[in-house]
């Protein structure tokens, strides 16, 4: 078994190193426009990966963008109204978003699948109203301007790019740790068979709250980074479409593995940008891709890779190389 693990490890190390180096070098040979686009891609990756945590437990939420917004607004308000340093604002944004998510899961614990989707949809709308109407705190429709940068004196696009890049790497690493941990497997188990998970001792509600909180924590952090990078946020910065996109990245990339949303986010953002060059047709193109994937590859790209691997890969059995269909299980007598 050790041999296979090493080979698998090698498969990932080389492309990652190459990809990583390219990304590090990007700001130096790309135009500023591309650097900015990549910052958006990094944000999308963080949002998609966070979203996946709750998604795999069988709860499809429609309000991930709201946690993003809560993080952004909290961070901006802490900076503007209380003059707190970025680090505190950043943490505040993440914690506020995480708390909101955990609370949402707690109060909706009795809701089944479709209902949770709709509750989160309503939550998105309610929070949007709050952002629009609570003018004294959130600036209403005009939003908040002149938000201080992440690191003052260090506020160029290129420098911010590296900050985002570093944080994205951190997020990916933590998501990787979660995915291969028992907790991560248990989240997927909950999505598979919730009642079975309960009777083997998994506190489903608590697991879901933690999953939602972690996902929202990173969304909140991303929101904070976003707010201090753009230096301006308004309700229009967080349209409902973003939450739809996040869902579509997870669907297209697949959620069985932690890297699915990364693939989905990168691929669809790239398609969206390429589509922009196609002019008016790009939304149709995006919709067509989404439809094709959900109809032909319901498990997304991750599922596709898995299927290929099962077809062409090798199997490992505990009892040695015995094949399937060797007859009924041996009668155990002692």
């Amino acid at each position: 078994m050790l041999k296979i693990m090493n080979r698998r490890g090698l498969n990932w190390v080389i492309p990652t190193v190459i990809g990583g180096s390219l990304l590090l070098a990007l700001p130096w040979f790309g135009r500023a426009y591309y650097t900015h686009i990549f910052i958006l891609i990094f944000l999308n990756i963080i949002l998609a990966m966070g979203y996946r945590l709750l998604y795999v437990t069988g709860l499809v939420s429609f309000c991930h963008v709201t946690f993003y917004a809560i993080g952004a607004y909290t961070s901006a308000i802490l900076a503007m109204k209380l003059g707190l340093p970025f680090g505190i604002c950043f943490l505040g944004g993440g914690i506020a978003a995480a708390a909101a998510a955990a609370f949402l899961i707690l109060v909706t614990s009795k809701a089944r699948g479709a209902y949770f989707f709709l509750i989160s949809f309503s939550f998105l709308g309610v929070m949007n109203t709050v952002f629009m109407q609570w003018r004294s705190v959130t600036g209403g429709a005009s939003g908040i301007t002149s938000i201080p940068p992440i690191i003052s004196g260090f506020d160029t696009v290129v420098n911010n790019y590296y900050i985002f890049f570093a944080f994205t790497i951190l997020t990916i690493f933590i998501m990787y740790l979660l995915d291969r941990s028992r907790f991560g497997s248990e989240l997927m188990a909950i999505g598979e068979a919730e009642d079975l998970a309960e009777v083997i001792g998994i506190d489903v509600l608590r697991h879901r709250m933690v999953a939602a909180a972690i996902g929202a924590l990173f969304a909140g952090f991303a929101g904070s980074l976003f707010a201090h990078y753009e230096s301006f946020i308004a309700p229009t910065s967080f349209p409902m479409w973003t939450t739809i996109y996040i869902l579509s990245w997870c669907v297209i990339g697949g959620v069985r593995k932690f890297w699915g949303p990364i693939v989905g986010a990168v691929l669809m953002t790239a398609i969206s940008e390429y589509g922009r060059m196609m002019g008016a047709m790009h939304a149709i193109f995006y919709a067509a891709v989404l439809l094709a994937v959900i109809m032909a590859m319901p498990n997304g790209i991750v599922g596709l890779v898995d299927t290929l691997r099962t077809r062409f890969g090798r199997r490992q059995y505990l009892g040695g190389d015995t094949k399937l269909g060797a007859g009924p299980p041996p009668v155990v007598d002692e």
Partner: protein, 282 residues
Amino acid sequence: MTAQLIINGLVLSLTIALMSAGMTLIFGILRVVNFAHGEFYMFGAVIAFFAMNRAGMGYVEASIMAIATVGLLGWVANRLVFRRFHGKLIEGCIAAIALSIGFQQVGWMIFGPHQQILTSPLTGSVEIFGAIVTMDRLLIIGVALVVILGLAWFINSTKMGKAMRAVQQDSEAALTLGISVNRVAGLTFGIATALAALAGTLVGTVYTVYPTMGMLPLTFAFIVIIVGGMGSVMGAFIAAFIIGFQHSLTSTFWGPQFALGLSLGLAMLMLIFRPRGLMGHA
């Protein structure tokens, strides 16, 4: 002032009722959350507009053509896309979202960004209880009311209506009774989208027509089917009135944004404390 409020409330309630009746039927019978329902509404208005302004049709003929076309489109959408997702909520939802994005874009492409209006066949106004009421609004109220009553009759009294209710309760059992679930599904989708298109052609006479006009009615429809109970047409009717009048009233004093937020909050509370809505099944 009050009469104006009541009239507006009626118009809103009845058009929302048309939208949400269809959507709740689709959910109840096919277990699909039709995220693209707003686009069928929009197509109704858009097709009627082109029929009137390019082909020179009168309002009535144009509307009928638009409704029939959209109903057919809905039937086709079910046949090609949604049928494989019956009962599979997440996948069906995503497919609907994809259609919504695509349809909106098609709307953009054929209609353009400028808002237009459908000319109502009825002009002038009438005085009711001391207030001036425009005839076009009365037309909406009249037509919507008739159609809604017709729908209620259809579901309760006709054979097909009963078949639809049977499929909603238990599609497997319905199969054993000889009911063609696929046929019922197709018809349901066709009827539901036709209702949405009707709402579109009606509203297009009073408010403007534009490609994204379906988003707000979609939101209202969601709220209404949540409050009314998903799958219950009667619940949708009652909730449509509650939400419609609530919205009219609140937006007069505190603006439409706040009114919408209030409705959404109501929906959330309903989902938390009584998820099956006013009249839904457990």
